[in-house]
Amino acid sequence: MAFGRSGKKEMPGITSSSLSDIVFMLLFFFMVTTQMRETENKVQVKVPEASEVVKLERKDLSSYINIGPPIISLQAQYGNEPRIQLNDSFKSTSDIRDFIAAERESKSEADRSFMTTVIKCDENVRMGIVTDVKQELRRCSALKIMYQARKTNN
């Protein structure tokens, strides 16, 4: 008795046409989420260039402070003086404390000492506002910072 040949019915092949749909769904998921992660930039930031940059080690443990003039569509409302953006809104230096505390809270206890605050600052910003931010960070003892910069080759 040959099992395979006894019946005239053939095993229908599994249709793989739906596979592409599933993968496309995954693809769209990633496309959408990666765009979301970049948070809506409300400030224009063109980071300065530097040759001795290092890579950010733990991307998941970093919090971002954006500093720069508001984007053009928001300049009518907020003017063009450099502002600080935390998460998705404009904040002042006094809000940094809460921001850092919230960021700390969201990380596991073991990772908290590795937290890095990335200062993403426009190259035309004056240092005054950056100094204020740095002072506030020192007060919150978030001492590991990184000045974001683009890599150049010279």
Binding site: L19, S20, P48, K55, V118, R126, K144, M146, Q148
Partner: protein, 198 residues
Amino acid sequence: MAKKKTPAINSSSTADIAFLLLCYFLMTTTMGSQTGLQRRLPPMPDPNQKVQDQKVNRRNIIVVKINSADRLLAGSKPMDVSELKDEIKIFLTNPANDPNLPEREDKVVEGLPTSYRGGHYAISKGVISLQNDRGTSYAAYIAVQNELVKAINELRDDASMTIYGKKFLNLSEDEQDVIKECIPQNISEAEPKDVAKK
């Protein structure tokens, strides 16, 4: 005429194409990592504690000042950003044993191969103090920071070439730590109150 059927388009490859796209997005999102200059801020001094005299010898400090017009002053002479690196390298190595430049303390460095001066290394006590004005542009500030890091990186490269015969980046992690101990990155970012006085 009607007997010939048009063959169905084979759709099994669409999955592969979609996978390729998926991989592309996965890769680009992780690869596009941020780069920058890493720094450690000094902890905030206790307000109840009186400011102690920093016991740093004058010869061991080089003050790098950037004013609101982005002009640079290193030590006591104005200079261009491009000259800063060599100035810092001379400051940190003190090749001529100048009494006005930082002293170098011969210390036993753990992990340093004994074939190199019996495990001793003359560690420079030099500290770079970076001061900026509130009006300094961020670009100039980063440019100066970059030059300082570049000077230190080049010194570390030189040291690892003489000790291990390899570039600093090609060393193992332990060896890198040894070199880092030999040539520390002592950059102090001054208190802003010093800045306000100007």
